[in-house]
């Protein structure tokens, strides 16, 4: 009897959770998409819920017109013109897996650079959600030859790729006083599970903290992030020297972490 009661309460809870999710689906139609994506309404329903959706010039998405290499398409998102940013979500509308990443900048500027795999020519949509729930949208159209997500990672051409997993190169520079610009590149195949015979295996979490353990930024990464993820952030760490702690985790539970020194601003 006790057992059954437990079941009932769990089920009730699930039911209410489901109803909540469904009510979120039933929101108003999104504004017209300047990129004319056939997937636009679906992207809004899946990823940009919980507030109004508006296209906003302050969300700058810098991307190549044409992907020279569809396995590594560089994207820079600059939303530093917006205040009170909660999260940044990037999607590639016509990829078999659309969600590329989510960033929650806590003590960082609303800025991220990354590389993604593109399966075919596609619009990229980036939503920047502010504390009031509003999604400020930007985007880009990228022309591509195709095949980025379903091809095996280059790492699989070598037999020792697992020994170099998580090896990192990192660089910190000063952009202006108060901010730093950090770029990390970590060895990881970022397997999408769509290449024949290769199971899904990707780096899915990254957290950057300051010396006191305060969170600077949290990132959720997904399959479309390029092999050997290359991520650029702008931590707001003040002008003196400090040390950041970067930690990442992949879908197999492998954890990698390393310190990153930020130099002091030199007066010019």
């Amino acid at each position: 009897m006790v057992h059954s009661k437990k079941f009932l309460s769990i089920s009730k809870l699930m039911l209410s959770a489901v109803l909540l999710a469904c009510s979120a689906l039933a929101q108003a139609a999104a504004p017209a998409d300047p990129f004319g994506s056939v997937m636009w309404q679906a992207m809004v329903d899946r990823y940009f819920t919980g507030g109004d959706v508006v296209f906003d010039q302050r969300v700058k998405v810098i991307a190549p017109y044409s992907a020279e290499n569809q396995m590594h398409v560089p994207i820079t998102v600059d939303a530093t013109g917006l205040e009170n940013v909660k999260q940044i979500v990037a999607v590639a509308d016509l990829n078999p897996i659309q969600h590329v990443l989510t960033v929650r900048p806590k003590q960082a500027l609303s800025f991220i650079g990354f590389r993604l795999k593109l399966q075919q020519s596609s619009p990229i949509h980036v939503g920047v959600q502010t504390e009031d729930g509003t999604w400020h949208m930007g985007g880009a159209l990228i022309d591509a030859a195709g095949g980025g997500c379903t091809a095996p990672a280059a790492a699989h051409g070598t037999s020792n790729w697992m020994q170099t997993l998580g090896e990192t190169r990192a660089l910190v520079r000063r952009d202006s006083k108060g901010d730093a610009r950090m770029t990390v590149r970590m060895r990881h195949p970022m397997d999408t599970g769509l290449a024949a015979g290769i199971p899904v295996f990707y780096m899915n979490k990254m957290v950057v903290k300051d010396e006191a353990g305060g969170v600077i930024a949290e990132l959720d990464l997904f399959e479309p992030v390029s092999e050997n993820p290359t991520i650029t952030l702008k931590p707001a760490v003040g002008s003196s020297a400090s040390q950041l702690a970067v930690s990442t985790r992949d879908t197999e539970g492998n954890e990698f972490s390393f310190p990153l020194s930020v130099p002091a601003v030199t007066t010019q």
Partner: protein, 589 residues
């Protein structure tokens, strides 16, 4: 109440997604698993590993009406040996497969809930096929080991990795294929206990216990004399005494892998592991008993110390890799109840020990024509036939190959990994055994990391023209065989027995079979389409008794089989799990 459940499930399904409510598994559920017919939350249907179900709905009278409900394919091209025993909890089956894969399946529909594929590195070194024998479950997590010697905890609802820890270095030959064991302790709460594999590569056998929440190592216990154990991150005690039964430095790569996993007895609160062969196979390089190889060891789970040890084949020279499961049972003999434990050893003898202290009670041969020993003496030590030990290569003319001998049983054993069952009703053990021998000779060898460390050559031969496999019902009190079922191909799957008076086992020819537990009469069989080398289970689901078995030919026989190939070379691979029950229309008949 049941109606309410269905309504709620339907409402959730209609709303936009479907899900199954899963109650957490407690350590009490695991310890009491044998008594509860409605779930299977341990390997062996209870921590003692008796593989005895109290269910009686399915019995000798109606087993003929058993029909398949669904079959679930493991998919992909990774169709190799499937030795896995599924777990059952709240309408969900957790089943593992070859190449370190795992699935959660909705039992009512046979549909997949999630699949997890371990990302294996290149260059794993499993000796004997890429099998996995099953998972463990506790709280909201399921656990299993992978071929690269890692243990993984997955969220039972989603299949996502919670933690993943290293058991051993796969590049040195460590691997993992057994089902983990979860045991209660007073000092640490529940612990997840694992052995390791790699006895053919000169690894060192070790039992490890971890915190199931975090994967942190709590204690470790090497099986080989001279190696230090750990407790809470510090050295604890040495196993045995260095060089007492090993010469020189050979203990450093001494083998003794506890690769089959362990059992637990709630009465004595001890964990029992079988340990594998010493390394290298060439016994002339390592005079002495070589403790604790080819042995049963009892470990106190509170601190990882060895409570007792018993060697079945001291100074093994035949790869009588005695990992065989030690099953606790209470034995009535001469008006007394002995807290006993039994195992059917690779070396062809069935041993009964006092499980409280490891003292020898009795031993009896369970295969025919054993050549390497005349018998077992009153202390449990083999009466060796010296001429039947492979000769020392140093004594040969060129020093490269010692005298070859023909020994029975073969190194694949009177019984190999496949677990036997014990019926609390008939008081018999049901042993999946094989009748075969081998030519074996020794060669010089030196240790090299990641390379086979054998120093022996061999070829396996059947000893009868018409069969190798032999399922035997053995009385542990008298040592007598009550009945035998003979099978052409070698048996390589586990056994299940039930209070309904049934014994189930699968054959490489593809049949799942049911026998009368008293007489051995074959009552039912079903052709699954590929060889069976796994252990059947039974449980109650929505008021009906179900039976399930994973199928897929493979394991060590096709890899090492020698002359045995004639008996098995035509068998085809597969990879699926089958479920059975009596259809409603036949249930009342």
């Amino acid at each position: 109440m049941i109606k309410m459940k269905v309504w709620l499930a339907a409402a959730v399904g209609a709303a936009c997604l479907s899900s199954t409510a899963i109650a957490d598994v407690s350590i009490e559920d695991i310890v009491a698993d044998q008594a509860s017919g409605d779930d299977i939350v341990s390997y062996g249907l209870g921590p003692r590993g008796q593989r005895y179900s109290p269910l009686t709905t399915l019995n000798k009278g109606n087993v003929k009406n058993l029909f398949p409900v669904w079959s679930f394919s493991f998919g992909g091209e990774k169709q190799r040996g499937q030795e896995s025993q599924p777990l059952i909890k709240d309408g969900v089956m957790y089943v593992t497969g070859s190449y370190s894969r795992m699935w959660a399946v909705d039992i009512r529909t046979g549909e997949e809930i999630w699949q997890y594929d371990a990302r294996l590195p290149e260059g794993i070194l499993p000796c004997c096929d890429v099998v996995n024998r099953g998972a463990a479950i506790l709280g909201d997590k399921v656990f299993f080991g992978t071929l690269d010697a890692k243990i993984v905890a997955l969220n039972a609802k989603t299949g996502k990795v919670v933690w993943r820890k290293t058991i051993g270095d796969y590049q040195a030959g460590y691997s993992y294929t057994a089902a983990p064991l979860i045991v209660p302790t007073e000092a640490h709460g529940p612990l997840i206990v694992t052995g390791n594999s790699g006895g053919e590569f000169g690894i060192v056998g070790e039992v490890q216990a971890r915190n199931p929440e975090t994967g942190e190592l709590v204690w470790s216990r090497p099986t080989i004399e001279g190696h230090m154990g750990t407790l809470n991150g510090a050295d604890s005690t040495m196993t045995g005494k260095k060089n007492e039964s090993w010469p020189g430095d050979l203990w450093q790569n001494g083998g003794g892998a506890p690769w089959l996993g362990g059992t637990y007895d709630p009465d004595t609160k001890l964990v029992f592991f079988g340990t594998g062969n010493p390394a290298p196979w060439n016994s002339h390089l390592r005079p002495g008993d070589n403790k604790w190889t080819s042995a049963r060891i009892a470990i106190d789970p509170e601190d990882g110390k060895i409570a007792w040890g018993f060697q079945t084949t001291p100074h093994d020279g035949w790869d009588y890799d005695g990992v065989n499961e030690f099953i606790s049972f209470d034995m009535e003999k001469d008006g007394e109840t002995i807290k006993a434990g039994a195992s059917a050893d690779r070396n062809g003898f069935f041993y009964v020990l006092d499980r409280t202290n490891g003292e020898f009670v009795s031993a009896a041969p369970f295969v025919q024509n054993i050549t390497w020993a005349e018998g077992i003496d009153e202390n449990g030590r083999p009466l060796y036939v010296d001429d039947n030990r492979p000769g020392n290569p140093v004594e040969s003319a060129d020093g490269k190959k010692g005298k070859s001998i023909f020994a029975i049983p073969s190194f694949l054993g009177g019984k190999n990994w496949m677990p036997m069952a014990y019926s609390q009703d008939t008081k018999l053990f049901y042993i999946p055994s094989n009748e075969w021998g081998m030519d074996i000779w020794n060669e010089p060898v030196t240790y090299k990391k990641g390379a086979a460390f054998l120093g022996a050559g061999f070829t396996i031969k059947p000893i009868f023209d018409d069969y190798i496999g032999s399922l035997k019902a053995l009385d542990p009190v008298s040592g007598e065989v009550k009945w035998e079922y003979r099978n052409k191909a070698p048996l390589w799957g586990g056994v299940l027995t039930t209070a309904g008076g049934l014994v189930f086992t699968g054959t490489p020819e593809g049949y799942l079979k049911a026998f009368d537990a008293e007489t051995g009469e074959e009552l039912w069989k079903f052709q699954t389409g590929t060889g069976i080398v796994s252990s059947p289970i039974t449980w109650e689901q929505d008021g009906e008794q179900w039976v399930a078995i994973t199928t897929g030919w493979g394991g060590a026989v096709p890899l090492w089989g020698g002359e045995v190939a004639k008996f098995v070379s035509y068998l085809n691979q597969g990879g699926s799990v089958w479920t059975f029950k009596i259809p409603e229309s036949l249930a009342s008949k």
